[in-house]
């Protein structure tokens, strides 16, 4: 029935789902965890406020993400869409307008719906423009060159970079900085986070990115998933420490269990 070598990870997957589901239910009935402060998430409002003061646009990037929603980067884009929704609601409230630059084509319809929904919820659906979503091409470098030119021409006041960046993170980020943009970033991708730390004024690294997306998503009880994630991290820490000690003592039933 099962592929050999994957039963262990299927067990872990089910365990993750159970723990998260319990925590979600707890939040629905009123108990809620205290989430550590995420300065980068709070600075998004500061970025949009700065754009309103200076009367210049807000640019948003979700990255090339290896081709978008059909790839394993889909969860990263799902979270990016929550953060786009949060940013779009702020720009609707402050009236600065927002422009998201896109590579992968399958992100175009989702981005349009997300921004339109944000503007509708804020009651200014008339301000929504289809051209707020700029698709440049599925090719990573064409998308990058279009953004770099737009940065120099339109001089954005703020640049929010949240998503699955690949080679282009340094290009998009530095192009924004050269145009004087206040840059807030975030990515769970280990290949690009070191650039975001160098470029951005505030950055969400790793799981902070998913936690930020959960805390601003449209279903308020999704905060419970951060709580569940912490429980699983403690479980993983236990597995690592106990597993290593047992391994040194020659007892390896933990690894056998995981490798089942």
């Amino acid at each position: 029935m099962f592929y050999s070598g994957r039963i262990g990870s299927f067990g872990i997957l089910v365990l993750i789902c159970i723990i998260v589901y319990i925590r979600l239910r707890q939040v629905v009935v009123g108990k809620s965890p205290t989430i550590r402060r995420l300065p980068a998430l709070e600075s998004v409002e500061e970025a949009v406020g700065r754009a309103a003061e200076m009367g210049r646009p807000v640019f948003f990037n979700a990255g090339y993400a290896a081709g978008g929603l059909t790839t394993i980067e889909a969860p990263i884009i799902g979270a990016a869409m929550s953060l786009l929704h949060y940013t779009a609601r702020l720009t609707a409230r402050y009236g600065t307008g927002i422009t998201i630059f896109l590579g992968p084509i399958n992100m175009v319809p989702v981005s349009m719906d997300v921004i339109k929904a944000a503007y509708t919820i804020e009651g200014v659906e008339s301000d929504y423009r289809e051209t707020m979503v700029r698709w440049l091409s599925d090719s990573q470098f064409v998308y990058t060159s279009g953004f770099m030119g737009a940065c120099q021409r339109e001089k954005p006041a703020s640049h929010v970079m949240m998503g699955g960046f690949w080679y282009e993170s340094i290009l998009l980020g530095e192009a924004g900085r050269n145009a004087g943009a206040f840059t807030v970033g975030g990515t769970p991708r280990q290949g690009q986070v070191h650039f975001m730390v160098a470029i951005c004024d505030y950055v969400l690294i790793g799981d902070e990115y998913y936690a930020a997306a959960a805390s601003v998503s449209r279903d308020p009880e999704e905060i419970g998933s951060i709580w569940g994630a912490d429980d699983i991290k403690i479980l993983i820490l236990g597995l690592l420490i106990v597993g290593s000690i047992l391994q040194v003592l020659g007892i390896d039933w933990i690894t056998q269990l995981l490798k089942l």
């Binding site: 592929y3 070598g5 994957r6 995420l38 300065p39 980068a40 600075s43 290896a66 081709g67 059909t70 790839t71 394993i72 090719s139 990573q140 470098f141 690949w166 080679y167 050269n178 280990q190 290949g191 975001m196 730390v197 160098a198 951005c200 004024d201 505030y202 950055v203 969400l204």
Partner: protein
């Protein structure tokens, strides 16, 4: 003339020097390149190797020398080579490899020793679909149906393939670990852009990947392994000069910081990463 313009100019000059006048700083061969080379050399006769081109021409500059060296090595070995890939620019990259690298085909015949399948878009699902069915594209890059190609007769799924190689600049190695090595046991080797070497290193260190040719430097090493020096070797001089410049800039930047701290003329605090 802002500070950044000065840095751009300095970098351009330091990189241009070796191309005008090569210096010849010595290059050692790293373990991961030798592992890659030895694995291919040790393949039994007639075993099938799939070369996946997962980068476009944009990466040719960095991965070209390594690609040319590996393809020349594969064609010299008595193996069956299948070329496919996730990049829409596969046909162009393949012609470029043969043309720019002036690859010697020797007695390799198309359709018997090597074949170029069409590219497959769609990321990991497509790589998985190709593993399940090597005849996924139904016809090769030049339009001839795969059924008529002699070497494709007994090559049905990834189980018939000994080694899959990926020329990559992202995290494609995980596609092949998950969709080729896990289910079918095909060994995975990669020609990788230095951008993603650190990530792929975890899989090489844990033994899931048998070898890695790491960008231009790896290309220079592989050229020396098959004793056919080319663009890779010149490139490593350029790496030395540009990296020396970067370290110099970082040191100057921090001396500037210490000078400001002690002479009390500190600029307003710049927010660093949160």
């Amino acid at each position: 003339m802002e500070q950044r313009h000065i840095i751009y100019l300095l970098l351009a000059i330091m990189i241009a020097i070796p191309y005008i006048q090569p210096i010849g700083i010595p290059v050692e061969t790293s373990k991961m390149t030798r592992d890659f080379y030895n694995k291919l050399k040790s393949l039994p006769e007639g075993s099938a190797v799939v070369l996946m081109v997962d980068v476009g021409l944009g990466s040719w500059v960095e991965l070209g020398p390594a690609t040319v060296a590996v393809v020349q090595h594969l064609l010299d070995l008595p193996i069956k080579l299948l070329v496919s890939g996730g990049s829409a620019e596969l046909p162009v990259v393949w012609e470029y490899t043969l043309e720019q690298g002036n690859i010697k085909l020797g007695d390799n015949k198309y359709g018997e020793d090597y074949v170029v399948l069409g590219f497959i878009t769609g990321g990991e699902p497509a790589a998985a679909a190709l593993a399940d069915n090597l005849h996924l594209t139904k016809e090769d890059q030049y339009g001839t149906p795969l059924e008529e190609i002699p070497m494709m007769k007994d090559l049905r799924t990834a189980a018939d393939v000994k080694v899959v190689l990926s020329i990559m600049a992202g995290t494609q190695e995980e596609w092949y670990l998950r969709q080729w090595r896990a289910p079918y046991g095909t060994d995975v080797g990669i020609i990788v852009s230095a951008v993603t070497t650190a990530l792929a290193m975890t899989y090489y260190v844990s033994g899931q990947i048998f070898g890695m040719v790491n960008s231009l430097r790896g290309g220079a090493e592989y050229e020396l392994l098959i004793s056919k020096p080319g663009k890779g070797v010149v490139g490593t001089d350029m790496l030395s000069l540009s990296h020396l410049l970067l370290v110099g800039l970082l040191i100057i930047g921090n001396i500037q910081l210490l000078y400001e701290k002690f002479s009390g003329t500190r600029k307003p605090e710049e927010k660093t990463g949160g």
